[in-house]
């Protein structure tokens, strides 16, 4: 498309008179924008510095291997802590949540933008957005007290047939990583749906008409024009959802804390994520030695979400270069 040369009003030079006030406005605005940009960078750096300054002494005192040892024994005299279990549960619960949420979000977004008549699409869209307004603690309570009953038979069924995979063996009672994943999936559904809906809706009608004029059915049109156009946006939406799931604290804490010690590789065991571990032990943060261990765990979570969000950003930027 880059080769078509056109001329738009935007190409025209601003005329002298009206521009002088405009320029002052521009300066104020760009000053404000730059200022808030710098403020945000300072904030992020400050958080990183805080995490590092607290974590490093604890890491130096750590008698265990932080990355490899599966222990968490912290008291005032000795620190032995490692993160592999936390890392595993955090990453796996978020990935499972994504695997559940992203396909549903894509289908809902395609339905809302390509199939639903406008008078249905708007209210249904609000409804999905409304899911985002439910406080996470409510999701946690609901997941544990209501939804668990429905998930347990599913877990048992999966364990009967796929227990040999180890990943799906021997469900424990009460909260499991799997239940937490499903609740996380529901929690990230609105954001992933909303962004996917936006990118699908932006598919240029010229692309859709190109497909239709070739004799594509509606589904074929979606496959040849809408989905390829939307894919980068959907990927970044999924990444943002993943970032959110990784950091989600209270809903996960409520669910998995009922089985904190019982870690196995199975999704049907209990376990703890970085966030739930820290939240659960907030009482110990008063002691600065012990706090250092939890802050080190928080630092890893910070790096993880930072990387995921950065990846999402990069994909969004690339997409911008592609469209237009």
């Amino acid at each position: 498309m880059s080769t078509i040369t056109g001329h738009s009003e935007l190409d025209a030079e601003p005329s002298g008179d009206s521009a002088s006030t405009g320029r002052r406005g521009d300066r104020i605005f760009s000053g404000l924008a730059t200022g808030s940009g710098i403020f945000i960078i300072v904030l992020v750096v400050a958080v990183a510095v805080f995490l590092l300054s607290q974590a490093i002494p604890a890491l130096l005192d750590n008698k265990a291997n932080f990355l490899l040892d599966r222990v968490w024994e912290v008291n005032d005299s000795e620190l032995r802590f490692g993160i592999p279990d936390l890392l595993y549960v955090t990453v796996v619960s978020s990935l499972v949540a994504m695997i559940i949420a992203v396909p549903i979000a894509i289908l809902v977004a395609l339905f809302l933008t390509q199939y639903a008549p406008a008078r249905l699409a708007a209210p249904f869209g609000y409804l999905v957005d409304l899911l985002a307004a439910v406080p996470s603690i409510v999701y946690g309570l609901w997941g544990f007290f209501v939804f668990r009953e429905y998930v347990e038979p599913v877990q048992n069924w999966l364990a009967d047939y796929f227990g040999w995979t180890k990943l799906l063996e021997e469900p424990v009672s009460l909260g499991t990583v799997f239940l937490a994943s499903i609740v996380l999936a529901i929690m990230i559904l609105p954001i992933v749906t909303a962004i996917s809906r936006e990118v699908f809706a932006q598919t240029p009608s010229t692309h859709k008409e190109a497909a239709l004029a070739l004799g594509a059915t509606r589904w074929e049109m979606i496959r040849t024009a809408v989905i390829p156009f939307g894919t980068p946006g959907v990927i970044s939406a999924a990444m943002l959802g993943l970032g959110r799931a990784l950091g989600e604290t209270i809903a996960v804490t409520i669910i998995v804390s009922t089985n904190p010690g019982a870690f196995r590789f199975s999704l049907f065991s209990g376990g703890e994520t970085f966030a739930s571990k820290i939240a659960n032990n907030a009482g110990e943060l008063g002691s600065s030695t012990k706090a250092g261990a939890y802050i080190a765990a928080g630092l890893v979570l910070f790096i993880l979400t930072f990387l995921v969000n950065a990846a999402a950003r990069i994909i969004i930027e690339r997409r911008k270069a592609f469209s237009e």
């Binding site: 498309m1 880059s2 080769t3 078509i4 056109g6 406008a118 240029p204 010229t206 692309h207 008409e209 190109a210 497909a211 239709l212 004029a213 070739l214 004799g215 594509a216 059915t217 074929e220 040849t224 024009a225 390829p228 156009f229 894919t231 592609f322 469209s323």
Partner: protein, 258 residues
């Protein structure tokens, strides 16, 4: 392969707005018919009724009949998807699929028809690209994105894509309006070649172009903004440009318009 088109008393609507009124015309096979007229008089709207693309716009509907070789396009049992496979279309702005390679763009329609055999696809893609006078320019970079071509090349790619499914009629809506003069000439030459095989209907805002490429010319006009567009007259192109029957046509082609 090429087929005749007969339109009778066609009214075209966007919801309650009547955009085109009372059009009747016949188009012979293997001819080029040009639609000219001031902008907003319903040329594109009418053109899109000939392959049922009009109805993809919410609220788009028609009254009257359009026949292709005697068969009513708008009959109940006719599938619009099948119509569009028979009546191809090229749009005003080149619109190759941006994520697809040159090859895949041309093959897109064939694949929609269920063609999977590599050899058949390769043959048809080459034939279509040759047919669109683009083969020599792209044969070494078929795997590159179609969006990387120049505007004129992209438009010929879109023509190749349209003729790859071997339609019987080819509709073109101002296919050269986004192109430079050299690309425009290339597309006009192509139209002259294609008319040996296809029935072609082309909308153009450029009267020299209508005179150069078409056998028949239809002049559309509208009484006032907000009023529906109408077909003022259709005749052999020579006749329209030398000695039109209607005063409005003469005013328009001589530039004494409005």
């Amino acid at each position: 392969m090429a087929q005749r088109i007969d339109v009778k008393d066609l009214n075209v609507y966007y919801s309650s707005f009547k955009a085109v009124e009372g059009v009747s015309m016949a188009v012979d096979p293997r001819t080029v018919t040009a639609f000219i007229g001031p902008s907003g008089c319903g040329k594109s709207t009418f053109l899109r009724t000939l392959n049922r693309m009009h109805e993809v716009i919410p609220g788009g509907r028609v009254e009257g009949s359009v026949q292709l070789n005697g068969r009513d396009l708008y009959a109940k049992e006719v599938d619009p998807v099948a119509v569009r496979r028979t009546v191809g279309m090229v749009f005003q702005r080149p619109n190759p699929f941006p994520t697809m390679s040159i090859f895949d763009n041309v093959a897109a329609g064939l694949r929609l028809n269920g063609e999977k055999r590599k050899k058949v696809l390769a043959e048809r893609v080459e034939k279509s690209l040759r047919g669109a006078n683009l083969w020599n320019e792209v044969k070494d970079r078929l795997a590159k994105p179609g969006a990387g071509l120049s505007g004129g090349q992209q438009q010929r790619l879109c023509i190749a894509r349209a003729i790859a499914v071997q339609p019987q009629v080819l509709l073109m809506d101002e296919p050269c309006s986004a192109l430079d003069p050299i690309s425009t000439m290339a597309v006009e030459d192509l139209i002259n070649e294609l008319k040996t095989e296809y029935t072609i209907v082309i909308v153009t805002h450029n009267m020299q172009q209508a005179a150069r490429v078409s056998d028949r010319t239809a002049f559309f006009n509208l009484a006032a903004t907000g009023k529906p567009g109408r077909l003022v007259e259709i005749n052999d192109t020579d006749k329209i440009f030398s000695n039109p029957t209607e005063k409005a046509t003469e005013d328009y082609i001589s530039g004494r318009f409005g």
